[in-house]
Amino acid sequence: MHAVIPYVVAALLFGLGVYGVLKRRNAILVLMAVELMLNAVNLILVAADSTIKAGLTGVQPEAWAYAVPEPRAGAIFALFVIVLAAAEVGVGLAIVLQFYRLRRAVVLDEVALHEHDHEQVSADHATVAEQNRNAQVSS
């Protein structure tokens, strides 16, 4: 097995993820690109897990190289990263949906970071309710 193949695949996937995060405007697509990056890291962890020990054959059996008798730590880290990604997607989508409920948009360019907009939001709600009432009356 040539270890360079999964590593190169992981590097390309990470580059694609960076490209997607920077290019996409839709928050859900940004989350998808983040998933690609996390998977690239997972792939590197698993590949290192299966190649590093074979690469250590000529090395003296030092304590740092064999901390546990059978080092499968890369796979376990990958499992942990998968769990972290699931938590991240859950909270991220909750934020996206809440923002959509407030503003009817999921476009990241239009997120106002610098205004303190309590009043703005409540005023929006008031006008929306008023328009709904007018629509009911007129129909």
Binding site: V9, L12, V18, L31, E35, V68, I82, Y100
Partner: protein, 303 residues
Amino acid sequence: MTVADALMLALGAIAVGSGALVVTSAHLVRSGFYLVVSLGAIAGLYLVLGAELVAWVQILVYVGAVVVLLLFAVMLTRAPIGPSDDLDRPALPAALIGGGVGLGLTVLLVDAFRWTEYELPPPGTGRRVGEQIFGAWVLPFEVLSILLLAALVGAIVLSRPDIGARPDPNAGAEPAPEPGPIGESPEVAARLERIAARQAAAQARVRAQHAAEQATEVAEPAQEQTREDALKDQARNVVFQAREGAPKLGRTPDMPLEPAPDPRVIESTSTEVSRGRPELPRGTRKGPPRELPSGPTRDDEGT
């Protein structure tokens, strides 16, 4: 070039190709499905590399849960079906940075590993991974479970507006006055005016017609009131009653109505004729008149 190499090349090509489609597709939903393909190919890579449990967890958690969650979010945010043209920023800076990162990492890793042959370790079984997790890595495992719980609670708090909301800074102040027609946007105001004008015109037309009929009646008093005329009067009664009983603007149904005079008696219509007749069909009356305090009038009708 062994079988493992060929498999990894094929799966890697699938993963990278569908990953590229994820970040370039103009369809939101297709991006999600290309993500499924990419993650499945990566799970195949895990299988080739001997991490069996990670591969199945990848398929279960990523393909089965995360992508479904993403597609649910696509659905809930009313994403358009079909291509949308406003998904992307200008691609050049992103392509520069992303390509730089990807190519830099590729060069680094290729330089580190060259074309060296490694022997694959025996495939890890779930038993060994379990012993590792609950032996050497039990503390991170427990911390991770707490983190999952925190993420769960955080997602619930975020998506429920009634808990965890910051107090409104101007909660103590009086509520904003109800925006009147003056404060409306010009389109809404114009629409309301048009509706009011149309209603006024319709009322004026009906009144004028009625007045003209009455004038002809006065002009020809000798004309006998036929059964047809009585029916017309009755129909007019129905129309006017429905109009009077219809819900008024600014009044909710459970608000007590002011005790109107008998709503079925209308000036200058021949109520005497309709009084004596059987009850009118109910289908002509709508809504709130059912709840009018008009019991006495019903009783009157009965007698």
